[in-house]
């Protein structure tokens, strides 16, 4: 109980005093996660829409693989990216290991299947509804994809927020490829892990409270969007 109240006091103090180090960590966390989500949304949305629109042999197998990859263990992704980016790895020459770029790569690999699979679900329902209309207009696949992505925009924003939620709270992969280096690759989750291992639980909890704040804000945004969508559907 003492730790918890101390944690709230520290969290409030850190935020109110605009602690430079804390804001540096928050800024890097947001930067890494937002860039990763943006890249993943680009590929994931296109993947979901293309899987709806195109018919080809083996499509079901691809869908199964994408769905399976949603549960990809972060440490496995981290390890794979580490092996690729380490000096002896195929991409070692770029010197990306222990940089924010490596963390972004790991997060992109981790959340693209999630965003792809969720957007496929959102777009599949809509495509079922629009399919005959599209075919009666003899639309090109690209025109269909553009229409689906635009009309499903609210649903896809929710998918993007879900991806962001996973990215911002992820610790395993970014710890392995980022190394949790102070002022360089330290983000919220890796900082919490570090403070916990050092035994400074109050500071770790304070950082956790701030992370929780992000999560609550995110869920509020999702709920708001969901209600906006259901209003639009039901009316």
């Amino acid at each position: 109980m003492g730790d918890l109240s101390e944690a709230f006091r520290i969290a409030f103090h850190l935020l109110a005093s605009f602690d430079r180090e804390l804001f540096e960590i928050i800024a890097l966390s947001l930067k890494v996660s937002l860039v990763a989500v943006a890249i993943s949304c680009f590929f994931g949305f296109l993947m979901g829409a293309a899987l709806c629109v195109y018919r080809f042999r083996g499509k079901q197998i691809i869908v199964i693989i994408i769905n399976a990859l949603m549960g990809l263990p972060p440490v496995v992704v981290g390890l794979c990216v580490y092996l690729m980016l380490s000096r002896s790895g195929p991409l070692g020459v770029f010197g990306l290991l222990y940089t924010p770029t490596a963390m972004i790569i790991a997060q992109v690999l981790l959340i693209t299947p999630l965003i792809g699979a969720l957007s496929l679900q959102v777009l599949h329902e809509m495509h079922k509804e629009y399919d005959e209309f599209f075919r009666s207009l003899h639309l090109s696949p690209l025109a269909k994809i553009k229409t689906l992505l635009w009309d499903a925009r609210f649903g896809l924003i929710i998918v993007g927020l879900a991806g962001f939620g996973r990215a911002i709270s992820e610790v395993g992969a970014v710890m392995i490829v980022g190394g949790n280096i102070n002022h360089l690759t330290r983000i919220m989750t890796t900082a919490i892990a570090l403070e916990t291992s050092k035994g400074t639980l109050a500071l770790a909890l304070a950082l956790g409270i701030i992370l929780l704040g992000f999560s609550v804000s995110l869920n509020a945004a999702v709920m708001f969007l969901r209600s906006a969508i259901s209003d639009d559907k039901n009316a």
Binding site: E132, L137, A143, A152
Partner: protein, 256 residues
């Protein structure tokens, strides 16, 4: 096998819009369309009638190119092809498919594929909204419209590109008389502006009001393809007469 439009045959315009030659459609082991041959001329309104499960909607989907025949040939005339191919056909379904956009944006969507100026586009949108009597609902979400309004919007969107062929699959089946009347007025306007209309309906009175020709389908075969007056005076087949008398066994009820 009927080959008409008698009315159009007598007219100057002898060009065929679409011709079915021994068209057969099989889905799995079921043969649903049996060796249909007929031609659709460039003008007028054809009403397709027949009991449930007769193959009317399949016939319409074959016309639209949504399905490919298992055997036989569907050819499109020069009159059809000379137009921008993406614009020459519009279809409206019994349950209107509306985009998750405003009423106005739904109509605009159909026009995006036309190479016209912004000014022309705005004029066409405004005119389409007027025809569908939806001017005051232009900016609200299409999904907030009533059933009748949604069907009018779907029809206005289909008509705005001035297609050569307008296919309507029981578009008034679930509408009240007032909405049905507006839809029928819109169909007349489309036909008067040179669009060929093919409409499925079960409503005999509506068929009499709208049709130039009646195409009667039963068990995947065409039993009659006649000018409307002739069809209702003398349907030309026992099956069509039985249908009009309400005696034709209904395949949905398993009484075939």
């Amino acid at each position: 096998m009927p080959e008409l439009d008698e009315k159009a045959k007598g007219s100057k315009n002898l060009d065929k819009l679409i011709r079915f030659q021994n068209v057969t459609l099989k889905i799995g082991h079921h043969q649903l369309i049996h060796d249909i041959s007929c031609s659709i001329n460039t003008t007028g309104k054809i009403v397709v009638m027949g009991p449930n499960g007769a193959g009317k909607s399949l016939f319409l989907r074959l016309l639209a190119g949504l399905m490919k025949p298992t055997a036989g040939k569907i050819t499109r005339g020069a009159h059809f092809l000379e137009h921008n191919q993406n614009m020459n056909l519009s279809m409206v379904f019994q349950n209107p498919v509306l985009l998750r956009r405003s009423t106005r944006a739904n109509i605009e969507y159909a026009l995006q594929r036309m190479n016209i100026s912004r000014q022309q586009r705005l004029q066409l949108i405004s005119s389409a909204l007027g025809v569908a009597r939806l001017e005051e609902k232009a900016l609200i979400s299409a999904r907030r419209l009533s059933g009748g309004e949604q069907q009018r919007l779907a029809l206005a969107r289909a008509m705005v590109v001035k297609p050569k062929l307008l296919l309507l699959d029981e578009v008034t089946a679930s509408l009240d008389p007032a909405s049905t009347q507006i839809v029928e007025t819109m169909i007349d306007e489309a036909a008067n502006s040179g669009t060929k209309v093919v409409l499925i309906t079960h409503d005999v009175r509506q068929a009499k009001r709208i049709a130039d020709n009646i195409l009667f389908i039963h068990q995947g075969k065409i039993f009659a393809y006649e000018p409307v007056r002739k069809f209702f005076r003398d349907p030309g087949s026992h099956e069509a007469q039985a249908y009009l008398d309400g005696k034709l066994p209904n395949p949905d009820l398993g009484s075939e």
